[in-house]
């Protein structure tokens, strides 16, 4: 019996001797489970998507789709995974597979197992709306047989949220038949084993301490244990969702001496709302945060769908986003606009740091070696007007060339308070302090907005790169506030769009 294993399609897959740098995808493929493919090894294409059983709010479990190419295989020890091979077989297709196959959803087929898993996760999403009265899905559920005509909505008639597929790329089909398949799905049949599986709890992660060829992987059980490890091993690197670390592991051969898994530490997975603050644990995934917040922080609701893809958000954490401290990260601008505070924890104890004081230079922060971000909190009171402007080439799953987050209060036609977070325009995320000052006290009118827009255009020190030129970044700062105004103009000028 293997010491460490992950359950894949109901069978144990041994992880003994697997190095910390080996991704879940490579571990699966090495064992002959070649359904999941590598299309990019950086979380962008979704060809590697697999399902994992994760805890659901009701104590049961839910099927969540993740990119297998990014996390260390070891971090899945003890967990339960299903791949396209496990959902069905050529003679016995799963409803998702049947819809995709019969509607022409696969051409070369390389992206297909990944789409199957992403789609299956959405198929099994318990709160998927629009399921009442739909027949159990079988093939030939042809209520919309105009196969060459398609009107798109974010939510299909069956409650299918197309964002579920925002992390899957297909180079062949142009997506129409894939969306048709998604929209043709009914609800799982009464005897569906994967649906039934949701009633039981998801397996707890297995604590581990593995050393392979001199590289160590540790999954501690408590925060205290994790902090001790980090204090004792200056080379140790914490890993949460691995959506940043996985990329450098795969592409830049980043091989830290010790990886410390913090993604399941209970102390970092808290979600709490007090009278004053809303607190999100650093290791809560963005998807979990989104569903728990349930609209309580409208600016984050504006952010989530623009942050990477659903697949990535199912693993990525705010702790990782601020831990990486990328100047083009999207979490920071939004959280800066929300006046967020971080709790940093180390063996020395905890301390609070305002996010606006956190960044000190390019990928540098006040966080000390051995210190972890434990929680991120924002005030309960929410600004009246929020927006997240992300300038990128692609609407789904792209990196910002410029990000502008707004949290603005207007009373009686006058701006009473303004917080503006910026990304992509300097070595660190920053607040647009001059703009905030210029806006506060100004009338919310086109003339005033035009004036302040010039101030915003002067913020930061944007550079040019392959994503955008310096001039364009500058120009986007300049038009952002005007765009906000056009979207939120007082009712009398509503036709301004």
């Amino acid at each position: 019996m293997a010491e460490l294993s992950v359950t894949v399609n109901g069978m144990p897959l041994p992880l003994d001797g697997v190095a910390p740098s080996v991704s879940l995808l490579d571990a699966l493929r090495a064992q002959g489970l070649t359904g999941a493919k590598e299309g990019c090894a950086e979380g962008e294409c979704g060809a590697c998507s697999v399902l994992v059983a994760r805890p659901a709010a009701d104590g049961g479990s839910q099927w969540v789709a993740v990119n297998a190419c990014l996390p260390p295989a070891l971090s899945y020890a003890g967990q339960e995974i299903v791949t396209a091979e496990g959902l069905g077989s050529p003679g016995d297709l799963h409803p998702v597979q049947a819809e995709l196959a019969h509607r022409g959803g696969s051409q070369c087929g390389y992206c297909t197992p990944g789409f199957v898993c992403s789609m299956a996760a959405e198929y099994y999403r318990p709160d998927r709306a629009g399921l009442e009265g739909t027949e159990a899905s079988g093939v030939g559920n042809d209520h919309q047989d105009h196969h060459n005509h398609h009107d798109r909505h974010d939510d299909g008639p069956n409650g299918f949220d197309e964002h579920a597929l925002s992390g899957n790329l297909c180079r062949c089909t142009g997506y129409r038949p894939i969306m048709d398949a998604a929209h043709a799905l009914g609800r799982p049949a009464a005897d569906d084993p994967f649906a039934a599986r949701r009633a039981q709890a998801a397996p707890e992660p297995v604590p581990a301490h593995v050393s392979v060829a001199g590289y160590e992987y540790v999954r501690p059980e408590t925060l205290a244990e994790a902090l001790d490890l980090l204090a004792a091993h200056p080379d140790a690197v914490p890993v949460a969702g691995s959506t940043d670390l996985g990329v450098v592991t795969n592409l830049a051969m980043y091989r830290p001496q010790m990886l410390v898994a913090i993604d399941r530490l209970p102390e970092l997975r808290t979600l709490r709302a007090t009278d004053e603050r809303i607190e999100i644990g650093a290791a809560v995934t963005l998807s979990e945060a989104e569903s728990w917040l349930a609209g309580r922080v409208p600016l984050l609701d504006a952010l989530f769908p623009q942050f990477a893809s659903r697949l990535i958000r199912n693993a990525a954490t705010f702790g990782g986003n601020l831990g990486t401290a990328s100047p083009i990260g999207d979490g920071a601008p939004a959280l800066l606009a929300l006046d967020a505070t971080l709790t940093l924890a180390s063996t020395e104890g905890t301390r609070e740091v305002a996010l606006s004081d956190y960044f000190t230079g390019y990928r540098q922060t006040v966080r000390r070696p051995g210190e972890l971000i434990a929680t991120i909190s924002v005030p309960v009171a929410q600004p009246g007007m929020v927006a997240f402007h992300k300038i990128a080439k692609r609407r789904y799953d792209d990196i910002s060339s410029v990000a502008v987050a707004y949290a603005i209060d207007i009373e009686g036609g006058v701006v009473t308070r303004a917080r503006i977070g910026l990304g992509g325009v300097a070595a660190t995320p920053l607040r647009a302090l001059a703009t905030e000052a210029a806006l506060t006290g100004s009338a919310w009118t086109e003339a005033e907005v035009d004036r302040v827009a010039e101030v915003l255009a002067g913020e930061g020190t944007p550079l040019g790169d392959h994503r955008a030129s310096e001039a364009y970044r500058r120009a986007m700062l300049g038009t952002s506030l005007r765009k906000l105004y056009a979207e939120h103009a007082p009712a009398t000028t509503g036709a301004a769009r």
């Binding site: 294409c45 959803g105 087929g109 197992p113 142009g174 592409l251 692609r394 789904y396 392959h466 994503r467």
Partner: protein, 789 residues
């Protein structure tokens, strides 16, 4: 109708069937080359040592440090090549170079027990370089006059003289960037020496025969000692027509020198840095129009950015020349073609193969000149359509010229273009910050390889005693549904149900001397060959059955798996019964089929002849909405009318049309190859060499409404079962998206402005186009040399 085009009663072709591997795709059971890795014992992994310079001479190479890395077994260098050190057919692509020609060019390859060890080994190899000056852009190469290969000139009439009599004469330049194929499956080859001592290569290749040829010449062995198999590809799009050969050859050398199977798989970063892409093009032009918008003359020079070696740049250029007319009659014309040599990847085939680059030039000319003529661009297009009887500039009569206006009119009606154009004008009048536009563009695309010899194909059809049928043909399956169509062709020709037929993976030891699966011609060519093979078998069986039924041969009918004789009282037989009986009567149950396209000839030097069997016609109407704050555009609705002849497989064809359109729209709007062009340490680096930086369309780019209809009554008499090719032409329909963005950008300024728009029309490029219009620029970068006074 010809026998080739004639369909029997109740044919299986024409039925909408799903991809033959669909059930395997969705369950992850479909195997691709790399999926075989775990099935081979003792496998070695290969990893390249790539040049860190765009152009340099290798002055020394020390491989010993790599051998010190645990797990490294061997470092392959030029000294290991037993045959010819060349990966191409033009002999300008040394497999192990002493002069590196682009950043990432592999100097040597490390073989190791694990991929990790191979990567570490590659990092340990020490190479010294002497830096040489590099040319990164086509403009630099033009200035330095660094060209490679042929410089064809296509001429008809006297463009200069005609220009002198034109009412309007304009000149300008058009540039377009290249495009990365981004097949989801990257390049992969696995080579081994099999039990008979021959070299067996599993490769993700569109051209197994050429992979075989090059592996053989690199190994210095005859072709019969090398077998190449392509199980299927996770996309090809032209990127695996020429590019796989060198990688397969490296794996093959590795397998022969070590005796162990060698896997060479490029990860995405390597694939993007090392493999060729669609050619970027630069065009300078002078064009003459009559007052009514008709073309009078065109004088253009097209310069392809060929990258470091010739590869397929010459035929790509030929096709660009042959498509600069798109669907238009240009009476007097001269077009010069040349290929710049730059220090980048060797640019290669990509869906459309030069056709798009040629068409973009003329569509860009129309898009920018129409406002200067004061005529709506759609009208300029329509007025210039070929009339029946007219010839292309290369001297081929435009077959079925009447189909273009038929397609166009059908689209104008089905897409309600006039009504929506009026609605859009109203919308634009009431919206300051958002503008919409609707543009309609046509496509006329020539089908066949320009190079006449490639227009041949073979097939081997095997009928087993139990009646099951196995098809081998020279074409490869990369998602385009070729195998599905071939199974339908065989089922139709043999009169059996589709599930009786299986198509085998493509192997060079089954069907020899095949052409690349390319030029949209896979179904035309291989379909002809499969049909020919099946008909031989059917004729033998018909003869045999006639005797059993006691009726004449021409009374025997094969349909739906039963065989009967017209007018006979004898009960019908099942197909399997007949086959079984025929076996015992010693009837040959297998056949080789061969097909060649008749009537083609082509002179690449004079750019003249009849290179194409026929033309595919199509048109698209694209409606976009552009945000004036950011330049971001959204494609709201697309309508397409497409002539696929009598479709062999409607669902497959629809998939090709939609998929190609979206791929084309990606190139038009977001896919951007950015190289570091500045002299210095970073020079030559592809800055968008990953999925995170090179963005292809995702679900969010899918048009909100997409209507595709196939032209009715469109039998193509010269092709298998009356069908037409479909793979490439729909990509060029995406030009409509760029033209619509251009028009939407124009709507931000005073009416009538000409707009110069980048390609790709990224949000940034579109934003600058809008800013130019807002700033009062009205000439779209076009110089007006003459206009009526």
């Amino acid at each position: 109708m010809t026998a080739l085009a004639q369909r029997p009663a109740n044919p299986v072709v024409g039925e909408s069937v799903v991809h033959e591997s669909a059930d395997l795709h969705v369950t992850g059971a479909a195997l691709y080359t790399d999926d075989l890795t775990g099935r081979l014992t003792g496998l070695l992994h290969a990893w390249p040592v790539g040049s860190p310079h765009a152009h340099a001479r290798v002055t020394s190479l020390r491989t010993e440090p790599a051998l010190a890395v645990p797990g490294v077994v061997r470092v392959l260098t030029g000294a290991d090549v037993p045959g010819v050190n060349d990966a191409g057919v033009k002999h300008d692509e040394p497999l192990f170079p002493t002069e590196v020609m682009f950043r990432g060019h592999a100097v040597c390859w490390v073989l190791a027990d694990s991929l990790e060890a191979a990567r570490l080994g590659a990092a340990a190899v020490e190479v010294d370089y002497e830096m040489l000056p590099a040319l990164m852009t086509v403009e630099e190469a033009i200035a330095a006059e660094r060209f490679q290969g042929a410089r064809p000139v296509m001429t008809r009439g006297d463009a200069a003289a005609a220009m002198a009599g034109a009412a309007y004469v304009f000149s300008g330049e058009t540039t377009m960037k290249g495009q990365e194929h981004f097949y989801l499956e990257t390049h992969c080859s696995i080579a081994l020496v099999d039990e008979s001592g021959q070299v067996f290569v599993h490769a993700s290749t569109q051209h197994p025969t050429e992979t075989q040829d090059i592996v053989a010449h690199v190994l210095g062995r005859p072709a019969h000692e090398v077998t190449v198999q392509c199980l299927r590809m996770g996309g090809g799009f032209g990127g695996k027509e020429m590019q796989p050969h060198g990688f397969a050859a490296i794996a093959a050398i590795g397998a022969t020198v070590t005796g162990r199977p060698v896997r060479l798989r490029l990860n995405r970063a390597l694939d993007m840095t090392m493999s060729g892409k669609r050619h970027g093009y630069h065009a300078s032009w002078q064009v003459g129009f009559a007052a009514d918008g008709r073309f009078v003359a065109l004088d253009a020079t097209l310069t392809a950015d060929g990258g470091w070696s010739l590869d397929l740049s010459e035929p790509v250029l030929a096709r660009a020349l042959c498509h600069i007319d798109n669907a238009y009659w240009i009476p007097d014309i001269v077009v010069h073609g040349r290929i710049a040599q730059t220090n980048k990847t060797s640019q290669t085939a990509f869906r459309g193969f030069g056709g798009p680059q040629g068409m973009i030039v003329i569509e860009d000319i129309i898009g920018r000149c129409a406002p200067l003529l004061g005529i709506d661009a759609a009208q300029v297009r329509e007025r210039n359509f070929y009339s029946p009887g007219q010839q292309t500039p290369y001297g081929q009569e435009v077959r079925h010229a009447d189909r273009m206006p038929r397609v166009w009119d059908q689209l104008m009606t089905s897409a309600t273009v006039d009504r929506r154009t009026a609605e859009i004008a109203e919308f634009n009048a009431s919206h300051r910050h958002t503008k919409k536009a609707l543009a309609v563009t046509p496509v006329k695309f020539g089908i066949s390889f320009n190079f006449t010899s490639y227009n041949q194909a073979g097939a081997l059809v095997l009928v087993y005693k139990d009646g099951s049928v196995l098809i081998n043909h020279g074409g490869t399956e990369m998602g385009q549904g070729l195998h599905t169509k071939m199974a339908q062709v065989a089922a139709t020709a043999l009169g059996v149900p589709l599930d009786v037929v299986r198509v085998a993976p493509t192997r060079t030891d089954k069907v020899p001397n095949t052409s690349a699966t390319a030029a949209s011609s896979g179904a035309d060519l291989n379909g002809g060959a499969v049909k020919a093979a099946c008909e031989q078998i059917r004729e033998r069986l018909a003869e045999f059955a006639a005797k059993r039924f006691g009726e004449p041969v021409d009374a025997v009918r094969f349909e739906g798996g039963t065989v009967r004789a017209e007018g006979s009282a004898a009960p019908p037989m099942t197909w399997a019964e007949l086959v079984d009986a025929a076996y015992y009567s010693r009837v040959q149950l297998s056949a080789m089929g061969f097909y060649r396209t008749e009537g083609l000839h082509w002179d690449p030097v004079t750019v003249h002849g009849v290179p194409f069997k026929y033309f595919v016609y199509a048109a698209a109407a694209a409606e976009v909405e552009v945000d004036g704050f950011t330049g971001a555009s959204v494609t709201r609705r697309v309508d397409i009318v497409f002539d696929v002849g009598d479709s062999l497989s409607p669902m497959i064809d629809l998939g090709q049309i939609e998929g190609a359109f979206v791929q084309g729209a990606g190139w038009m709007t977001m896919e951007e190859l950015v190289w570091d062009e500045r002299p210095g340490q970073g020079q030559g680096r592809l800055l968008t060499s990953a999925a995170s930086t090179y963005k292809l369309p995702s679900l969010s780019e899918m048009p909100a409404v997409l209507n595709v209809s196939l032209l009715e009554a469109a039998t193509e008499d010269g092709v298998v079962y009356g069908s037409k090719a479909v793979g490439e032409p729909p990509l060029m329909l995406a030009i409509a998206v760029r033209e619509a963005i251009r028009d939407a950008a124009a709507a931000f300024g005073e009416s009538g402005a000409s707009v110069d728009l980048g390609l790709p029309a990224t949000p940034e490029a579109t934003y600058w186009a809008i800013e130019a219009v807002r700033g009062g620029v009205r000439d779209g970068g076009v110089t007006t040399l003459r206009r009526p006074t």
